[in-house]
Amino acid sequence: MAEPHAEAQHHDSHVGRYWAVWIALLVFTFLTFGLSRLHIPGGWGVVVALAIAATKGGLVALFFMHLWDQRGANRLVFLTSLVFVALLCALTIADNATRFPLANPPGSEVPRSQSTTPIGLPERAP
């Protein structure tokens, strides 16, 4: 941890940073809104929107929440939590994407290969 006076010095430059981050956040907000109106095809819209959100989130965490100045443990805690967010999302979606297609809910839009689709399904459960 930095010495108390060193910390006070840090705070000097903070106001300017806060202004810059705020403006950047607003810019990114309108940017992501504008890009969403373009309806980027092929699922890239999601990627772009999430990339912008991650950038904004990064700015908030680093500067508003001072992770930029703080020592390892706090950063590690936050990064670890993000790793587990990614882990849970990725492996659950991967399951739905790769499982026996009929094991996904009826009406879902996961591509179903013809070879595994049985012909003439009997009555479906409600």
Binding site: S81, L88, L91, N96, T98, P105, P126
Partner: protein, 556 residues
């Protein structure tokens, strides 16, 4: 050095000014205490009551299974009983018992701290535990639930039983667990005594620290999941409801994302205890300090990547199953490392076969078999046969009861002198240990065979060919219960009439033994300065007359 010890070090002395009678002894002083030791003791009492309750449910279950058809109850009562057994044992006993009980008492002392970082949060954690237990008990009395502790949807969302209070109780208990974990991590980071570098931290603390990481990262997911089930049951919000396009398997993913690491919440503290006990009773430094310490962290981390091995038969994709299966193999390695290191610690030691050590022997046996059957289950194809049979029941009881309860009992005996200032009767202790270990084997080894032969779990009645093994298992359970009652009786008697222990009856070199028994309110009479790893025995002459004199290496 406390004045009471100064007169004659060979006569054990009772530390007159201790946390039990200072600052006051009334009920109010306990109810509003911020002392981690008192909170730890309260957790120990509460979890022991929960253990007794869960054990009673288990006995009733075993009695019901004595004959193939209905024996002493009907199917609905049976379904409620096994649910309550699971909920009480896991949420009220297994998860809090060692971390919140022994951890609270010992972790700050081992680090040389005066208290945990956030004493108020610590007390809040205890009251959240009581509140959660009360809400869950309300649900049990008013209808109970018949879902099993796993709460699988859509059964749990359509059952007529009163499942919502039990879900909310578990949700509240989760907060208690999170607060305790948070406190331990911050304490370990910020309140270590001078000289307590990371490579001198006792192995107990390392394991509890790893446990805390899991508690913090996994518990919120379970809390949210249980809330979703409660919302679906109460208001038909339908997040997992197949009729509204929901996916019941997703619930299983969420549930096991917590509940598989939760297995490590239960077993890591047991490993914490064992690492201390094996050193103290073989009077040896741990063989491979770093290996044991880091393998705790490894278990905590890799344990998160294996939840899908509970879903091999549930329609999960082969792709996911492969990932989860292979990662499960890696998490088993960390446990293997610990087992080998504990065994190697005995080499050239000076082994005293006392009660805690007897439980260590039981622990080692159960962990090896429980762990190896776990790896066998993770091979995916064998799990297809064993999933949801008594094999799985036996496997996780080997880990949870076999290992964790053995460690709990080892801890109870090992630190009983520290917590109470008194000793228990050694002869009765060994009798109890033998009864518990034998009873446990007779209970659960037949269940492995039952699972092999195909008996599914949660069966109220069963075909006659499973009869003989079920009788054997019930007989074993009665021996186990008898052993546990024996332990309970002599422990209660010793609380009041046990001989005075002195500050370090085992002449252990764990840091917690450097303070008088019971410890003073601020844990140490003089703030300790740590100059070496715990459990170093080679640099001191083991002369009873010298102990518990201050070790030369402990500059005071």
């Amino acid at each position: 050095m406390s004045p009471s010890l100064a007169s004659d070090p060979t006569v054990p002395a009772y530390n007159a000014r201790n946390y039990l009678n200072e600052p006051a002894t009334g009920l109010k002083s306990w109810a509003f205490t911020l002392d981690h030791k008192r909170i730890g003791v309260m957790f120990l009492v509460a979890t022991t009551v929960a253990f007794a309750l869960g054990g009673l449910f288990a006995l009733l279950i075993r009695l019901e299974l004595l004959t193939p058809g209905p024996t002493i109850m009907d199917a609905m009562t049976y379904n409620r009983l096994f649910t309550l057994h699971g909920v009480v044992m896991i949420f009220l006993f297994m998860i809090p018992a060692i971390p919140s009980g022994f951890g609270n008492f010992l972790l700050p002392i081992m680090l040389g701290a005066k208290d945990v970082a956030f004493p108020r949060l610590n007390l809040l954690s205890f009251y959240l535990y009581l509140l959660g237990a009360a809400v869950a008990l309300y649900g049990m009395v008013h209808g109970g639930a018949d879902t099993g502790w796993t709460f699988y949807t859509p059964y749990s969302t359509t059952t007529q039983t009163n499942v919502v209070p039990i879900l909310l109780g578990a949700f509240i208990l989760g907060f208690s667990s999170v607060l305790t974990g948070l406190n331990f991590i911050v304490t370990t980071h910020t309140l270590r005594a001078p000289g307590m570098t990371w490579d001198r931290i006792p192995l107990f603390v390392w394991s509890i620290y790893a446990t805390s990481i899991i508690q913090i990262l996994a518990t919120p997911v379970l809390g949210m999941t249980l809330l979703l089930v409660a919302l679906e049951h109460a208001f038909a919000w339908g997040i997992f409801d197949p009729a509204r396009g929901g996916d019941p398997v997703l619930f299983q993913h969420f549930f096991w994302f917590y509940s598989h690491p939760a297995v490590y919440i239960m077993i890591l503290p047991a490993m914490a205890v064992i690492s201390e006990v094996v050193c103290a009773f073989s009077r040896k430094n741990i063989f491979g300090y770093k290996a044991v310490a880091y393998s705790s962290l490894g278990i905590a981390f890799v344990g998160f990547f294996t939840w899908g091995h509970h879903l091999f038969t549930s329609g999960q994709s082969a792709f996911d199953s492969g990932i989860f299966a292979v990662l499960s193999m890696f998490v088993a390695i960390f446990t293997a490392i610990k087992v080998f290191n504990w065994t190697a610690t005995l080499y050239r030691g000076s082994i005293a076969f006392r009660t805690p050590f007897a439980y260590f022997v039981g622990f080692l046996f159960f962990l090896v078999f429980g762990g190896m059957t776990g790896v066998a289950l993770a091979t995916a194809s064998l799990d297809i046969h064993w999933q949801d049979t008594y094999f799985v029941v036996a496997h996780f009881h080997f880990i949870m009861v076999g290992s964790t309860v053995m460690a709990f009992l080892a801890a109870l005996h090992y630190w009983f002198p520290k917590i109470t200032g008194r000793t228990y009767p050694e002869g009765w202790g060994l009798v109890g240990a033998v009864l518990v270990i034998l009873g446990f084997n007779f209970t659960f080894i037949p269940q492995f065979l039952l699972g092999n032969s195909g008996m599914p779990r949660r069966y109220f009645s069963y075909p006659e060919r499973f009869w003989a093994l079920n009788v054997a298992s019930t007989a074993g359970a009665s021996v186990l219960a008898f052993g546990l009652v024996t332990v309970l009786v002599y422990v209660l008697v010793s609380l009041r009439w046990g001989p005075i222990a002195g500050s370090n009856p085992w002449r252990s070199r764990g840091f917690e033994w450097d303070t008088p028994s019971p410890p003073p309110v601020e844990n140490f009479d003089t703030p300790p300065i740590i100059t070496h790893q715990p459990h170093l025995y080679h640099d001191v002459a083991q002369d009873p007359a010298q102990s518990p004199a201050p070790e030369p290496s402990h500059a005071r």
